[in-house]
C-alpha cells in the first residue's frame, strides 16, 4: 500500500502556543484516515498546512508525491472541507459551486451538471438556487461537503464533516465517504470516536500538538488480541479464575467505566489473548470461553473485537471519560 500523504517533522507555532510539534505520519492510499485529538490538539492546523492555508514553521508535507508548498500542482487532485470557512452569503449556491468548476476548466454546462450531481449526493439539489444565508447550519455543512466532492479529487480532507448534522444526515455523509473510498483517499478529523472507529481504517491521535499514536485501527485497538464481553451477570472470582485457566487467555479484567465503579456490579469484561502458541488462533480461544460461560449459566450478551477507540484515545491522551 503506497502513501498518498506524507508528513515529516511538521511544526507550527502561534505566538506562545506550539500548535504542532515535529509531527510525522503517513496516510495510505485509498484509506479512510481518521485524525483524532482533543480540542486544541492541532487537527485543524494540520489540515490547514496540508492544504497550504497556513505556512509551516518547519517540516514538509507531500501529497501524491508533491510538496504542498507548490500547491498549484495539486489543483483538482486535492480538496478540503475546511472547518469554519464561510460561503458568500448573498450568492446562490449553484453560482458559487459552478464558479469553482469553471476554475477547473469546465464549460458552464458541464459545471452545472457536476454541481447538481454533487448537491444531489448531499441532498441539496432542490436548494441549488437558494442563497447560503437561507440555509440552516446543517445544510451549510452539507454544502461544504458537496464542494469537497466536486470533480474527482484523489485526496479529500474533511475537517469535522458530521459536526452539527442530525443523525440521519451524519449517516448519509458516512455512507457517502465509504462509497468514495473506492476512488479517493479520505482524511477525516472528528471528535466522534465511535464514528471514526466505524468509518476509518487508519487513525492518528494528536494531543497538544504532538502525535501520540498512529496506525491502522486494528493495530491500535488490538483487534486480534483483545475482546470486549458483556455478560448477563457479574462473574464471581472463582468463575474468573476458571476462565483465565483456558489456554490462550492471558487475563480477564473488569471494564471500569465510571458507572460500573460506582455500582461495583460491572458486567463488562476485557479479555486479553495470548496467541503465542502456534496451534492457537482467536477462534480456538474464544469458543471455549463462551462454552465455559454457558456452562456457568452466564449468558454472553455482546462480544466485540478489540478495545474501543475511545478507551485507547482516553488512555493515550490522559483525558477522563465523560460517560456516566
Amino acid at each position: 500500500m503506497t502513501n498518498v500523504v506524507s508528513i515529516k517533522e511538521l511544526s507550527k507555532r502561534f505566538g506562545r502556543i506550539q500548535a504542532l510539534n515535529k509531527v510525522s505520519f503517513e496516510i495510505p492510499s485509498n484509506s479512510i484516515f481518521g485524525l483524532l485529538g482533543p480540542n486544541g490538539a492541532g487537527k485543524t492546523t494540520l489540515f490547514s498546512i496540508i492544504a497550504d492555508f497556513l505556512k509551516a514553521d518547519a517540516g514538509t508535507v507531500e501529497v501524491l508525491g508533491i510538496d504542498t508548498r507548490y500547491i498549484s500542482r495539486l489543483q483538482g487532485r486535492l480538496s478540503i472541507l475546511p472547518q469554519d470557512a464561510q460561503f458568500q452569503r448573498n450568492v446562490p449556491i449553484l453560482d458559487q459551486l459552478v464558479f469553482f468548476r469553471l476554475l477547473a476548466g469546465r464549460t458552464k454546462k458541464q459545471s452545472r451538471e457536476e454541481v447538481l450531481h454533487s448537491l444531489d449526493l448531499v441532498g441539496l439539489k432542490s436548494f441549488a438556487k437558494r442563497r447560503v444565508s437561507s440555509l440552516s447550519h446543517g445544510m451549510v455543512k452539507r454544502l461544504g461537503i458537496a464542494q469537497a466532492f466536486l470533480g474527482s479529487p484523489e485526496v479529500i480532507l474533511l475537517d469535522e464533516p458530521t459536526a452539527g448534522l442530525d443523525p440521519a444526515s451524519a449517516r448519509q455523509i458516512r455512507d457517502l465517504v465509504k462509497q468514495l473510498q473506492q476512488h479517493a483517499t479520505i482524511a477525516v478529523s472528528s471528535h466522534n470516536l465511535a464514528e471514526v472507529q466505524e468509518l476509518c481504517d487508519h487513525v492518528a491521535i494528536l494531543d497538544h500538538g504532538n502525535l501520540v499514536l498512529a496506525g491502522s485501527v486494528d493495530e491500535i485497538t488490538l483487534a486480534d488480541r483483545e475482546y470486549n464481553l458483556s455478560l448477563s451477570r457479574p462473574l464471581q472470582d472463582s468463575e474468573l479464575e476458571k476462565l483465565t485457566s483456558i489456554e490462550g487467555v492471558r487475563n480477564i479484567k473488569i471494564l471500569s467505566t465510571a458507572a460500573a465503579s460506582r455500582s461495583k456490579q460491572s458486567t463488562d469484561y476485557l479479555i486479553t489473548l495470548d496467541l503465542s502458541a502456534d496451534h492457537l488462533d482467536q477462534d480456538a480461544v474464544i469458543a471455549p470461553v463462551l462454552r465455559t460461560l454457558l456452562d456457568m449459566s452466564v449468558t454472553p450478551r455482546k462480544l466485540s473485537e478489540g478495545r474501543s477507540l475511545e478507551t485507547q484515545f482516553l488512555e493515550v491522551t490522559g483525558a477522563q471519560s465523560d460517560s456516566p
Binding site: F53, K55, I71, S72, L78, A85, Q86, Q88, N90, F100
Partner: protein, 329 residues
C-alpha cells in the same frame, strides 16, 4: 513571489465573478450610491447658479445671454480651479472672490468685465476655462480631489473579509493566490471604471441638456478625457486598498486604515507644509501630487501623470501581493 503560476483565464474568471459579487454583496451598490450622490451633488452645486441665472434671464429679458452665462461660469470656476491646481493660495482666491463680488454689486452693466481677466490666467487654467467646457472642468477637478476618499468604500474588502471568515479557503485549492489577488484587483477596478462612466455620462448628459452653451462635440470629447482621468486615477488608490486589505483580517479595520492613509497623507502634507516646507512632499507618497496632471493640457504632463499612476499601482500591488502570498489564510 510566485507570479510564474499566474493564470490569465483564472484572473479573468475571478475578476468577473468579483465584479458581480460586488453588486450582489451590497458593497458595490453602497459604493455606487455614495459615488453617484457625491458626483451628482458636486455637479448640482456647480451647475445650479448657472441654471438660476439662465432662468432669471429668461424671466427678465425673455432669452438667455450666453456671454453673461460664460462670465458667471468663469466667476464660479476660476477660483476653484486656481486653488485646486495650486496656482493661487487660499487667501488670494478668497480675496479675489470678494473683490469680484464687490465689483459686481457696483457695476450693474454685467458684461463689462466679461473675459477681462482671461488673458491673466496661467495656461493650465486657461485651458480648463477657455478651451474646454469650464463647468465640466470644475466638476472634474472636484471629482479628482474627492473620489480617492470615496473609492475605499468599494476597494477596502477585496481580501480582508474573506480572510476573516476563511471563505478564501474554498478557493485556495482551486487557483493560485496570485490569481485571486490580481483577479479581485482587476474586478474592483472594472467596477470602479463602470461607476465613473455612469457618473461622467450622467453629468455630461444633464449639462448638455440644461446648459446649452457648449457644442455637444466639445462636451463629449472633454467628458471622455475626464472619464479617462478619473478611471486612471482610481487605479493606484484601489491598489493601496488592495495592500491594506491583504494585510489585515478585519474588513472594518481595512476600511478605517484605507481612509486614514488616503486622507492622512494629504493632511500631513498640508499641515506639515505649514510647519516645515519640505513636509509638503509627503503628498507624493500617494498620487495626490500628480493626479491633477491627468487633465493637463500638455501631453507630456498627462503622460507623466499616467506613468506615475501606473508606478504607484505597481508598487502598492507588489507589496500587497508579497503580503498575501506569504501570509496564513
Amino acid at each position: 513571489m510566485n507570479l510564474k503560476t499566474i493564470n490569465i483565464a483564472h484572473v479573468r474568471l475571478i475578476s468577473l465573478y468579483w465584479s458581480r459579487y460586488a453588486v450582489r454583496s451590497g458593497s458595490g451598490l453602497v459604493y455606487l450610491m455614495i459615488a453617484l450622490v457625491f458626483g451628482l451633488s458636486v455637479a448640482h452645486i456647480i451647475i445650479m447658479p448657472v441654471e438660476r441665472l439662465m432662468a432669471l434671464q429668461k424671466k427678465q429679458i425673455g432669452q438667455e445671454n450666453p456671454q453673461l452665462i460664460r462670465k458667471t461660469i468663469i466667476d464660479i470656476g476660476q477660483p476653484i480651479i486656481q486653488f485646486v491646481l495650486g496656482v493661487k493660495s487660499f487667501e488670494q482666491v478668497t480675496k479675489e472672490a470678494a473683490s469680484t463680488q464687490m465689483h459686481r454689486q457696483n457695476d450693474t452693466s454685467s458684461t463689462a468685465h466679461s473675459g477681462n481677466n482671461n488673458s491673466a490666467f496661467d495656461p493650465w487654467t486657461n485651458f480648463l476655462i477657455e478651451k474646454k467646457p469650464a463647468l465640466l472642468s470644475v466638476i472634474f477637478l472636484i471629482l479628482i480631489f474627492g473620489m480617492p476618499f470615496v473609492i475605499s468604500f468599494l476597494a477596502f474588502n477585496q481580501i480582508s473579509g474573506d480572510v476573516q471568515n476563511h471563505g478564501l479557503r474554498y478557493l485556495l485549492l482551486r487557483t493560485e493566490r496570485c490569481n485571486i489577488f490580481f483577479g479581485r484587483f482587476i474586478g474592483t477596478t472594472f467596477f470602479s471604471t463602470a461607476v465613473m462612466a455612469i457618473i461622467v455620462a450622467t453629468i455630461t448628459f444633464y449639462l448638455g441638456m440644461k446648459v446649452r452653451i457648449y457644442p455637444a462635440s466639445d462636451l463629449a470629447i472633454w467628458a471622455v478625457q475626464g472619464f479617462l482621468a478619473l478611471a486612471i486615477l482610481m487605479v493606484p488608490y484601489i491598489a493601496v486598498c488592495s495592500l491594506i486589505s491583504a494585510s489585515v483580517d478585519s474588513p472594518f479595520l481595512s476600511l478605517v486604515l484605507a481612509k486614514v492613509v488616503i486622507a492622512g497623507v494629504l493632511l500631513m502634507a498640508i499641515l506639515g507644509g505649514f510647519a516645515w516646507k519640505p513636509a509638503k512632499y509627503i503628498l507624493y507618497a500617494l498620487p495626490w501630487g500628480w493626479q491633477n496632471n491627468l487633465i493637463h493640457p500638455a501631453p507630456a504632463h498627462w503622460l507623466g501623470a499616467v506613468i506615475a499612476s501606473l508606478a504607484y499601482t505597481a508598487f502598492f500591488l507588489t507589496l500587497g501581493y508579497i503580503r498575501f502570498e506569504t501570509r496564513d489564510l
